[in-house]
């Protein structure tokens, strides 16, 4: 009789492991199978590591910074026009930062789980749309931190437009063509790697601050 994990365990593990590395990870886990409990423990330790590694590979730090800055600016501008009291109120800027952070986290996860082989023209729009759907769910669940409906709706619309444009212009690493036997390193060379020097951090923050101060001063 063939010894191996149960079908249900394998289906759950397969669902959790990102598709790009599913084949080899599930194969390795099956090869190392000793008992159901050990399989479960190994999966509980292995899968978070694999997801983390996949996020590191598919997320481009420069693009992520551009996306989050665009989203935050969109929400701040929309709040300035639709509900100026929100910006002046207590923790107004912090509340405006919640949807961009949620959208960015969801987009990173969506990129990690995207299948590199499947491509279609509107694929870059899937992750941002999913991100805003998750942000909307969060806003409906936690009312004390939620934004006014008009600010959220217009902010999401503007943010979606900006992020989608960015993604169509600079496709994420997961969506770029994968050459056979070519190390991923050479593909990443096309983009400028982010170094966390003071210049790289301070310049975007300075631009964002100037925009916010201008909006507040009007």
């Amino acid at each position: 009789m063939e010894s191996g994990p149960s079908k249900v365990a394998e289906i759950i593990a397969g669902w959790l492991v990102p598709p790009a590395c599913r084949e080899e990870i599930l194969g390795d886990m099956r090869e190392r199978y000793r008992s159901g409990l050990r399989y479960f423990l190994e999966a509980a330790h292995l899968i978070p590591c694999v997801i983390f590694s996949r996020i590191c590979r598919t997320t481009d730090a420069v693009l992520a910074l551009m996306e989050v800055a665009s989203l935050y600016t969109a929400f701040v501008i929309v709040a300035k026009y639709f509900d100026p009291v929100l910006i002046l109120g207590r923790s107004g800027f912090a509340r405006l930062a919640i949807p961009p952070v949620i959208v960015l986290a969801t987009m990173s996860l969506a990129d990690a789980y995207s299948v590199p082989q499947r491509r279609w023209p509107l694929k870059p729009l899937v992750a941002p749309t999913l991100g805003f759907a998750v942000a909307y769910t969060e806003q409906s669940m936690y009312r004390q931190w939620s934004l006014p409906p008009s600010v959220f709706a217009w902010g999401s619309g503007t943010g979606l437009l900006l992020v989608s444009t960015l993604r169509l212009e600079f496709p994420s690493i997961a969506d770029q063509p994968q050459a056979a036997h070519a190390p991923a390193f050479w593909q990443k060379l096309e983009l400028v790697p982010l170094s966390l020097s003071p210049k790289n951090v301070l310049v975007p923050c300075g631009i964002l601050l100037a925009v916010i101060l201008y909006l507040l001063g009007r």
Partner: protein, 125 residues
């Protein structure tokens, strides 16, 4: 100037080098455990390091070789690239120099006896 290798990266690259055409997740993990003994190494850490090394261009990978033992799933085989060979060479040279210096002071480790000199500092007058 090559990027310097971490201790764990050295272990993984050495495992791939020694396994030659049989270097995939499970075998690399087993070899890494042997090399890092008595430390234990998790399979997750091996995958994270393999991905990082591939991104740095030190290794490359390809899918092939499914077996019934793996439920018909393929293995991802890893191969050392020229850049990885050079980085490992540099690390090995550094390790050799460290080894020679330590052996010079403490004596030969090969016999399993570590002759550590007594600590007797002489204060300058």
């Amino acid at each position: 100037m090559l990027a310097s290798l971490g201790h764990f990266e050295q272990i993984i690259l050495t495992a791939i080098l020694s396994l030659r055409d049989e270097a995939y997740g499970v075998t690399i993990h087993e070899k890494a455990i042997q090399l890092a003994a008595p430390k234990n190494i998790s399979l997750g850490a091996v995958y994270v390091t393999l991905d990082r090394l591939e991104d740095k261009g030190f290794i490359s990978s390809c899918l092939s070789g499914s077996t019934p033992q793996r439920g018909g799933r393929s293995k991802r085989f890893y191969r050392l690239e020229a850049l990885g060979e050079r980085a490992l060479e540099e690390s090995a040279a550094t390790a050799k120099r460290v080894w020679e210096t330590v052996a010079e002071v403490w004596g030969d480790f090969a016999e399993g006896v570590r002759r550590r000199p007594k600590w007797s500092p002489v204060r300058p007058r």
